[in-house]
Amino acid sequence: MKLDLKQDLALGRLTLTMTENCHGDSQPLVDTIQFNRFHEKVASDTAALAGAMIASRWCGEVIEFSGFKVGSDVAEAVRLIVPDARFVQPIDGFRRNLCEGHLHLLVCQPEEAASVVDSSLSNRGLIRLVTWSGEFVCVATGSSAGRIAGEISTNADILLPDWETSIGLGLLVGGLRLGSILIQQPEEEHVRNVERIAAALRIVGVQLRTVPARAHERNDSIRQRTVAGEKELKPTTRGKQRPPLRLPALAVV
């Protein structure tokens, strides 16, 4: 699988195209993943990890990055993320771009933000909240009730579960400053996969943490919006980026 990353800072769009270049590659439902209202400049190493995570289900034995090289530590992490990938290229073994991470990102969908922020007690200082929205209609309920637009919009959740989209987005937003990514705790069936990704990210010095959501609060907030009727369609966030949240403590899970 060849991954082609393009960014247009003026338009605020980041696209990641999956091109087949190996016999074992398969075609995903959509081959171009978009991130809209994305104004951060991406770093190649974390972008490679995010790309590998997005492509992992369709990637054969070769994973190739177009336009940039990755360090050997990133390549090792990629091999862990994409179990089938025997060949990662191009690698420049002497590169070491990731610095000591100091940025902590809490990534989730906007309607989950309230309950997740509340439950993530931190004593580490600044944590930035990044909200994203994807397909507005939930597959399980067939309804968009309670779903609102986030800071960044993407179609990645067409292919990936929410927790994986959150990690990928955290890697892209955080770049070289990234210290840890906090995501909402996924369902039981995904726990092993989360552990695998967490192990891969540890290789490059990024910590992955999960934050339990307060289910009852989440349901309440959705119910409130549903009662509001038409208002639920109106997004609450506008183009501006939110200031970092000051949270009292960080719950490590």
Binding site: L11, H23, L29, S133, E135, V137, V139, G142, S153, G239
Partner: protein, 754 residues
């Protein structure tokens, strides 16, 4: 769990037996049956193994098709996972656990197709000797075949096989059907994996090359062409070369669809209880039957009807004896998106064809949609043009639609797409659902979200449906809500995209805002033939000039003319047809021919539009129902008259449209003479006839037809006249001859003094 399929035709029994025994000796937990498919061998195959797991399936076939033989084997197999091998393959005795791992990987979906790399054995080792020999010896003697041939041993799940429509039966002989299958598995989103040749060893036993067989080279070339040209993923499973059984419900004789396979298309009809529902629903259903060899199912979702209504619907649908499966399902709460989602969940077809219960599919619909997927295998759906018709008035509007992109949907103008013309992959609709939070407008919202997700929805470049307008149309009754919800969906999406991107899309929409060309351009008269027999109120009309040559003279039994030699009409209007080359405006043919037309279709002489010097036409009385109008048209056709049908509403609209007086130009310094309005077209012709045929006056006169609310009014108008005296004397002469008063007019028909 694992069914091994070995397709053969005229292979030596000893070879087949060796292959079969090599698999039966494996220490495998999964191998449950071995199916040997005898695909039309000259002599029926008789292989005795004594193992109850072995079955021989024989089908008669004139042409050897390895692809179809494998499909027949899979159709007979009972396992959830299929392994396909050739009769010249021997598997290593210790490969059992490896085979089980491959089976497990395909069964859980992590691998779509598991392949084993073959080792070619030399000519010196026969099949039996290879069977007896140890793997170590065979490995040293043989030569590893590169990983391009995929036919040696392929393991795939039945689910995968069904999902892509099995092997393509168009491949005859052997070669390339395996590459094509592997490629389609890959393009369908599944992984193709070579299992490590050290773990899963298979040996290809030498045999004389089969390239020398009759027609083999030509067949292989044809196969390569098919594999190269057709890049589609899903292919309908067909039985083309053998006598294998077809699907049981196909009684039409058109179909060659394999049994026990899911239908290609699910026709998804969401239906709500309302006036005339059953009549419209039956017409909608019947319009699909017979298309694409009936490889379809029809699912009707009843949307929030009462128990009694639902039972009545089921009973009525049961009475329709259709050659395709028809399933009613029920959504208790009335919600169109919920009904659509319920159909998606219930659909067994690979594609979902969206249909409304009041629309009629054109005969090309399903074929054209499927052609889009053949052209572009990465397409997620397609939509087409549509023809609106009003059931009451018969008004027809032709809509081509536009290319469906995010830019056109967000910022485009006019009619871009219509939901009942859409056709989607079922997996796409299962992922991108209709929004049940929207009571109306969920179809446009779905189109927007699909475009935003990057899905490719292609245009068929053809009209695909007749969309009915009637008193209980959702589009009519809920238009305001639809528009409001559509704007909300647009707003939500624009907000999530950001202003910079939206500006880019707006510019791109402006640049690409154009209609699509539809190649099956349908004449309006042909559309009327396709309408339901009761639809519309129509008028038949034709220009009077066609009567000059069209109507043959009446004859008695002996062939003598019954036409009176000097009829009153001819005597009274000797110059009725005029003496110029073209028919004079207002010219009337002899009344006897008109009588014959009136006997056929009752009507009158008049105009069909406002204008100057337009020829008078014969216009029928309003005819209710397309069938009645078409019958009348056919009868006129028998008289040699090619008449045109126009909806009464359209006709009335046209006749209400007045003459554009601003177009009546008069040169500077000149004037025209305009008569008082005349209501009767015959009076116009009589007035004209009174002018001497050879005079300059006759040559300079024109007739204006001016539409009003009460009907057409006519004016005689002269050519431009220069000088007051000339105008005055001409006016006096005209009044004297025609007995109609004239006034002087300037540009735009404005009255002025002498």
């Amino acid at each position: 769990m694992l069914s091994l399929v070995v397709p053969v035709r005229n292979w030596p029994e000893q070879r087949i037996s060796t292959c079969m025994r090599s698999f039966l000796r494996l220490k495998s937990d999964t191998l449950s049956e071995v199916l040997i498919v005898d695909f039309g061998s000259d002599e029926p195959l008789a292989v005795h193994s004594g193992d109850p797991r072995v079955r021989i399936v024989r089908v008669e076939a004139k042409v050897w098709s390895l692809a179809e033989a494998i499909n027949v084997g899979v159709l007979h197999a009972e396992g959830a996972v299929i392994a396909k091998t050739d009769a010249d393959i021997i598997i290593a005795a210790e490969a059992g656990p490896s085979l089980d791992r491959a089976v497990a990987a395909t069964a859980d979906g992590t691998t779509g197709l598991a392949l084993a790399q073959a080792i070619d054995l030399p000519e010196t080792i026969g099949a039996e000797e290879a069977y007896q020999a140890s793997s170590r010896r065979l490995n040293t003697m043989g030569r590893v075949r590169p990983r391009w041939g995929q036919g040696g041993l392929a393991v795939f799940s039945r689910f995968t096989w069904e999902a892509i429509g099995g092997f393509d039966s168009r491949f005859t002989g052997w070669g390339n059907e395996d590459n094509d299958f592997a490629e389609r598995v890959r393009r369908s989103g599944r992984k193709v994996r070579w299992f490590d040749s050290d773990a899963l060893k298979i040996y290809h036993v030498w045999h004389p090359p089969s390239f020398h067989g009759k027609g083999i080279v030509a067949r292989r070339a044809a196969n390569i062409e098919v594999a190269k040209k057709d890049r589609s993923v899903f292919r309908p499973l067909r039985i083309l070369h053998s006598q294998a059984p077809r699907r049981s419900q196909d009684k039409s004789g058109l179909s060659n669809v394999a049994p026990r396979t899911p239908p290609l298309v699910t026709i998804a009809i969401a239906s709500t209880e309302r006036k005339n529902r059953l009549r419209m629903l039956k017409e909608a259903i019947r319009s699909y039957v017979g298309q694409i060899g009936n490889d379809m199912e029809i699912v009707v979702a009843d949307n929030g009807s009462s128990d009694a209504d639902y039972e009545h619907l089921c009973a009525e649908l049961c009475k329709l004896k259709l050659p395709v499966p028809l399933r009613p399902i029920r959504v208790k709460e009335p919600s169109i998106p919920a009904a659509r989602n319920a159909i998606t969940d219930a659909a067994a077809g690979r594609y979902i064809c969206v249909a409304d219960d009041d629309d009629i599919a054109l005969p090309n619909r399903l074929m054209d949609h499927l052609a889009c997927f053949e052209k572009d295998p990465a397409a997620h759906g397609s939509h087409g043009g549509w023809i609106d018709f009003d059931e009451q008035t018969g008004l027809i509007e032709i809509n081509e639609g536009k290319e469906r992109t995010l830019a056109t949907l967000l910022f485009g103008s006019g009619k871009i797409t219509s939901h009942p013309t859409c056709f989607y992959r079922t997996d796409v609709l299962r992922r991108i659902r209709y929004d049940e939070a929207l009571a109306l407008g969920s179809d446009f919202d779905l189109a927007l979200r699909m475009a935003n997700a990057g899905l490719k929805i292609k245009h068929t470049h053809s009209y695909v449906i007749l969309r009915r307008f009637h008193s209980t149309n959702v589009t009519v009754t809920g238009l305001a809500n639809q528009v409001t919800n559509g704007e909300k969906s647009r707003f939500r999406l624009r907000d999530s995209l950001g202003s910079a991107l939206c500006d880019g899309f707006a510019a791109s929409a402006k640049a690409s805002d154009q209609l699509v060309y539809c190649r099956n351009r349908i004449d309006r008269q042909r559309i009327i033939e396709m309408l339901p027999p009761y639809a519309g109120v129509w008028r038949l009309h034709f220009p009077l000039s066609v009567l000059k040559t069209a109507v043959p003279p009446r004859t008695n039994g002996n062939g003598e003319s019954l036409q009176p030699s000097g009829s009153d009409a001819q005597e009274s209007d000797p110059d009725a047809l005029g003496d110029r080359g073209d028919p004079l405006p207002g010219a009337v043919p002899d009344y006897s021919t008109v009588e014959r037309v009136i006997e056929t279709v009752d009507g009158d002489i008049g105009s069909t539009a406002s204008g100057i010097n337009l020829e008078f036409a014969y216009v029928s009385r309003p005819l209710r129902g397309a069938a009645k109008a078409l019958r009348a048209k056919r009868r006129l056709g028998e008289l040699g008259i090619e008449a045109e049908l126009t909806a009464e509403y359209d006709f009335a609209e046209r006749s209400r449209r007045g003459f554009p007086w601003s177009h009546l130009k008069v040169p500077k310094g000149a004037r025209r003479l305009l008569s008082e309005p005349i209501n009767d077209p015959l009076a116009v012709t009589k007035a004209l006839a009174k002018l001497p045929a050879s005079s300059i006056l006759r040559g300079m006169m024109s007739v204006i037809a001016d539409g009003t609310a009460e009907g057409f009014r006519y004016h005689l108008v002269s050519g431009p006249l220069r000088g007051r005296e000339a105008a005055q004397s001409t006016a006096v002469m005209l009044r004297k001859l025609s007995a109609i008063p004239f006034t002087l007019v300037a540009n735009g028909g404005v009255a002025c003094d002498f």
